[in-house]
């Protein structure tokens, strides 16, 4: 197991109370696999990823759990050790490439910066000039690999001279630069045109194959997850409510929420043409129902749902948090 997250809790302390953005999330990630983390916006996907990097923004904080990686708990590392691991062992790409690159630095330099931070070419026998040359060559190579055309010229351009898709490629090049073991991708295609989306997802799949880099792909689109991920974890109001192999989840969704999500995607289930959105709205994380958080929107709710529901292990990596399964 490459990464094992146990009972991760990330809360925001606000004047109106404590928001449990990540409320006991447990996920496992195997070497080289793509795991999809799916859920409606506001359910805590981004905060889960940021927690893995220990970059939760103020006033949020990780209040519990463990993140086991390479034989240690990331939450127990000193902030210095953690800084050194970011970008080198775990890299992240973001939702909106337009705002992820720093507007005042040349794109090539922003890629080179991560090589410099982690001393990728820092053998003492190299002079600064030689080192710079090697770093630049590597940047050009990364730009080629991520499909940025004429990288020699584009190295010296600024982010605003790139299209959205090209910017996201540059961000991926940054993430790729230090060959991290895990790539955290937070809705990497949400802000892009549909045609570009497919290109970026294909690029990520290719990188996943050729580098054997594990990916956690966060998306609100179950269709995207179904296409690219080996396993899927469905998140609702800060909790994982169902987990399993992609095929099984798509063919036989267990949790009413997962079923609802599937029904609201037109093209995945062609023999069931009726498009039915989930009734009700995403719950307010400040006022969650005490029992199953999906209860107010659930068609199958019974008395026992008013109590908190544990995750049920159905074997073969299939997990579901619902009273209907024993």
């Amino acid at each position: 197991m490459l990464l094992e997250v146990n009972n991760l809790q990330t809360y925001f302390q606000t004047s109106r109370g404590s928001i449990k953005a990540v409320d006991g999330v447990s996920i496992k990630l195997e070497q080289g696999e793509i795991l999809g983390l799916v859920g409606e916006s506001g359910c805590g996907k981004s905060m889960t990823l940021l927690s893995l990097l220990r970059l939760v923004p103020h006033p949020g904080a990780i209040v519990g759990g463990e993140i086991l990686f390479q034989g240690g708990d990331l939450l127990k590392k000193s902030s210095r050790e953690m800084t050194r691991m970011r970008g080198r062992d775990l890299a992240m790409i973001f939702q909106d490439p337009m705002t992820t690159l720093n507007p005042v630095f040349k794109v090539g330099e922003q890629i080179r910066e991560s090589l410099r931070i982690h001393n990728i070419f820092n053998q003492s026998r190299f002079s600064e000039r030689k080192r710079l040359k090697q770093e630049k060559e590597r940047v050009i190579q990364l730009m080629e690999e991520t499909g940025i055309p004429s990288p020699m010229d584009r190295y010296y351009e600024y982010p605003h001279q790139f299209s959205g898709g090209m910017q996201q490629r540059a961000v991926i090049a940054i993430a790729l630069s230090c060959e991290p073991k895990i790539l955290l991708a937070d809705e990497p295609t949400t802000a892009l045109d549909v045609t570009i989306q497919a290109q970026i997802l294909n690029l990520m799949e290719r990188i996943n194959r050729s580098h054997g880099m594990a990916v956690i792909l966060v998306t609100h689109d179950l269709g995207v997850a179904a296409e690219f991920c080996r396993r899927i974890a469905v998140m609702y109001a800060g909790k994982i409510i169902e987990q399993g192999l992609t095929d099984e989840i798509i063919e036989n969704p267990l949790h009413p929420y997962t079923q609802g999500l599937l029904r609201s995607i037109p093209h995945i289930v062609p023999d069931k043409p009726r498009l039915r959105p989930i009734r009700g709205t995403v719950p307010d994380l400040l006022n969650l129902p005490p029992g199953c958080t999906f209860l107010p929107r659930c068609d199958y709710a019974v008395e026992v749902c008013k109590e908190p529901q544990e995750m049920r292990d159905l074997g073969n990596g299939r997990l579901v948090r619902c009273a209907r399964y024993k």
């Binding site: 050194r84 909106d96 720093n102 507007p103 005042v104 982690h118 605003h160």
Partner: protein, 336 residues
């Protein structure tokens, strides 16, 4: 920015400077009080003949538009005229006073920036902390407190009570300084005169703080708010996610962006340091342009006032141009 664009900007600025010249010309002449009367009043008993001579010599007997014509003709030749009261060419008087003003402006700018930029950054990074609240409260006073009031308070504390800093002038009478450029700091360094350098620095401190304080207050507030804005951006999170230390995230990635709006304000404020220093120069008896123009307004020395105002107009235009050029360097999205 290419040379052609810069040249274009300078050409555009010329009508502005001339326009300001005409306005100040008219304002001076429409202000009650006649320069000849004032001068003669100070001189005591004078004959009607003398008054007539002076009036004629200064073209004050001619209609306004003819006078304006003379003024513009001289201006085109680069001639700012001769001071009524001092009898010397205006340009000589300005050249004599300009180094004092520039030296003070430089001192004030250094004080303001060294104080304001770090405070703005720290206040934003530690938003709502004690440092943030305290410095923003002080900045608030810095913006609304009259300059002469701050100057007098500083004088009271550091000169009268503690007796450590001088209250007027640029250098102590006891120190001899051979003047090369008119910039006393530079002159003392060139001539290796360390006593003079010390004295000059001591004389600079209080006026610099007084003049620079409002600028520091404004720049700190602007820096803080643009820093807060920048820190919300994804690229700051990205910089951290790359593995950059927090210090580099703030100083390299965030500050570079936060400086973009701040530079505009700094440019305008530096214009203010050069053109808005009459009060400070008067309070500290600083022999610069500000005091020169104040005194010449009192005696209606038209050419001198006009000359100094032209210099002010020129400085403002130049400061703006420098800011625009600088802007293209720090903001890659802009190319004028």
């Amino acid at each position: 920015m290419q040379a052609a664009k810069i040249a274009e900007r300078i050409l555009i600025a010329i009508p502005v400077v001339i326009g300001i010249g005409i306005i100040i010309f008219l304002i001076m002449r429409l202000t009650p009080g006649d320069p000849v009367d004032i001068m003669m009043g100070q001189a005591g008993h004078v004959s009607a003949r003398e008054i007539e001579l002076l009036t004629e010599q200064w073209h004050l007997n001619e209609p306004l538009h003819i006078q304006l014509g003379y003024f513009l003709r001289d201006l085109a030749r680069g001639d700012l005229g001769t001071s009524f009261t001092k009898g010397r060419p205006v340009w000589d008087l300005i050249k004599g006073a300009l180094p004092a003003t520039l030296e003070l402006a430089l001192g004030a700018a250094i004080f303001a920036l060294l104080l304001a930029i770090p405070i703005g950054v720290i206040s934003a990074v530690k938003q709502n902390s004690f440092i943030d609240r305290a410095s923003m409260t002080v900045a608030f006073f810095g913006i609304c407190m009259p300059v002469f009031y701050l100057g007098i308070i500083l004088m009271l504390v550091f000169s009268v009570k503690m007796g450590v800093l001088p209250t007027y002038g640029r250098i102590s009478y006891e120190v001899m300084l051979h003047k090369v450029t008119g910039f006393y700091m530079l002159d003392s360094i060139i001539t290796g005169n360390w006593a003079a350098l010390g004295s000059t620095l001591k004389h600079l401190i209080l006026p610099s703080i007084t003049l620079g304080f409002p600028m520091a207050a404004i720049v700190a507030r602007v820096m803080r708010s643009s820093m807060l804005e920048v820190l919300r951006n994804d690229y700051v999170v990205m910089a951290r996610a790359k593995g950059l230390r927090e210090f580099s995230v703030i100083v390299k990635h965030a500050m570079r962006n936060a400086m973009i709006p701040t530079v505009t304000v700094i440019g305008l404020e530096i214009g203010m340091l050069l053109g808005g220093n009459m009060i400070v120069e008067t309070v500290f008896s600083w022999p610069g342009l500000g005091r020169l123009v104040v005194n010449s307004i009192f005696v209606r020395d038209y050419p001198l006032v006009q000359g100094v105002v032209m210099v002010y107009a020129f400085t403002f235009v130049a400061a703006n141009l420098v800011v625009d050029i600088l802007y293209t360097y720090i903001n890659p999205k802009i190319s004028i």
